[in-house]
Symmetry: C2
Subunit: 221 residues, 2 copies
DNA sequence: ATGTTCTTGACCGAATCGGTTTAGAGAGGT
DNA sequence: ACCTCTCTAAACCGATTCGGTCAAGAACAT
């Protein structure tokens, strides 16, 4: 469109530069980029911001990724494969208990965040990204790959164990609020608190379960 | 610093231009500015963005407010007074029940959002604003005025009615998660759904209350 | 020393920034 | 008809920042 003709990166030689870095250095750069894109969106996250957050010079970002767009798309695919891996590895469709399903989803999310804490907010912003330069590519990637979000859906969950007077739709909504706030709080946490937070959420879910389930389904603690 | 010498707005003639607008037009502009600043922060929210979101030309923003900074500070003070009014009007310190206190806070928040739905996210971003051009002014305003947040604090709340086995700190944390997600969901809602949402939250709180309180404190519905 | 690889600060044209000026559209008075 | 006068947007301003490049120094190996 507006950028000068580029003759490089036919075949991906540029990304090799990045991939040959140590994992530690790569993670610093990836985390910085995920954070900036996640917080500011594609357009308003500048390469200078990302470079500064990663502690490298702007020129290095272009050295590693070629263009801003290539970096963004690389991050999308990276997050996609991390999510898919984690879901395929941990998701168990045979778990039908409502709260256990939620616990499982949370464990998956925490596993993902342990790799890159900024992935959830990055993906959330990506889903709403509307910039002309990338939105078609996002749509293509989302349409092409199987969407991991569908796999965590709550189809086939056993809801018969709830007390009769419990409003199930309300519980769903409440839990989605809890999960939202929980994730948000996680994002601001240092890596070491992940499991503490996860335990707290699980205790929280147990508490709800103990109070919302019919007595015969409440396990003794 | 870098801007040319300005000789206008000694005494606030410029803001009068804005205040003489119809309330409807003013609200459109205010909402647009709150949304943009709230979502992107002071620096990354451009006056062009705000003007476009408000459906007016960039020149009009400067016509009404003089500078970007003046607009931002105007919004802070506006939100501050809206919050203070609402808190002073609705906050009742004699309510000591845990859940009733939360309901009250939510009602206050919804009243505020009915005036400008973007206020909560704007204030949240303001608290974390760190741009050199405005951070000192923010600190001055926050230090100067009595902070409405302190008034909603949960000091003096009666927690004795909870079942003994309930982990109170956990309930607090869980409720803060719910409130977060709830607010977030509210922000994306059209004005007419506010009360529906508020009712849902209240039902949700009643449900928790019925299950977490000792039986003698649960009112018959 | 010499060649090679990394890395960067300075730089590019284009775009956008905060902010100003100009000029046209419209309302109202005469 | 003409003349103000107000409101508004488009065109414009210099400065900054944008995505992206490049020449030259640091670092390392030989």
């Amino acid at each position: 469109m507006r950028q000068p003709i580029r003759s490089k990166n036919f075949g991906g030689e540029i990304l090799e530069k990045f991939l040959s870095l140590s994992q530690e250095k790569r993670n610093v750069i990836i985390d910085a980029a995920l954070r900036m894109f996640g917080a500011n969106g594609y357009k308003k996250a500048s390469v200078s911001d990302i470079a500064a957050a990663a502690g490298i010079s702007k020129a290095m970002v272009f050295h590693y990724f070629g263009t801003k767009k290539a970096l963004y798309l690389y991050l999308i695919n990276l997050c996609g494969s991390i999510m898919m891996n984690e879901v395929n590895e941990k998701f168990d469709n045979s778990i039908t208990d409502f709260f256990d399903r939620i616990k499982m989803s949370s464990q998956i999310e925490v596993s993902v965040m342990k790799k890159h804490a900024a992935i959830p907010s990055f993906l959330a912003s990506m889903y709403f990204e509307n910039d002309e330069e990338v939105k078609d590519d996002i749509k293509a990637i989302l349409d092409g790959g199987d969407d991991f979000r569908n796999k965590i859906a709550f189809a086939g969950v056993d809801t018969s164990k709830f007390k009769d007077e419990i409003d199930l739709k309300l519980v769903m909504k409440m839990l989605s609020w809890i999960a939202d706030g929980y994730t948000k709080q996680l994002s601001n946490q240092s890596e070491f608190d992940f499991d503490t937070m996860l335990n707290e959420l699980n205790e929280c879910l147990d508490m709800l379960k103990n109070n919302f389930y019919k007595e015969e389904f409440v396990r003794i603690e």
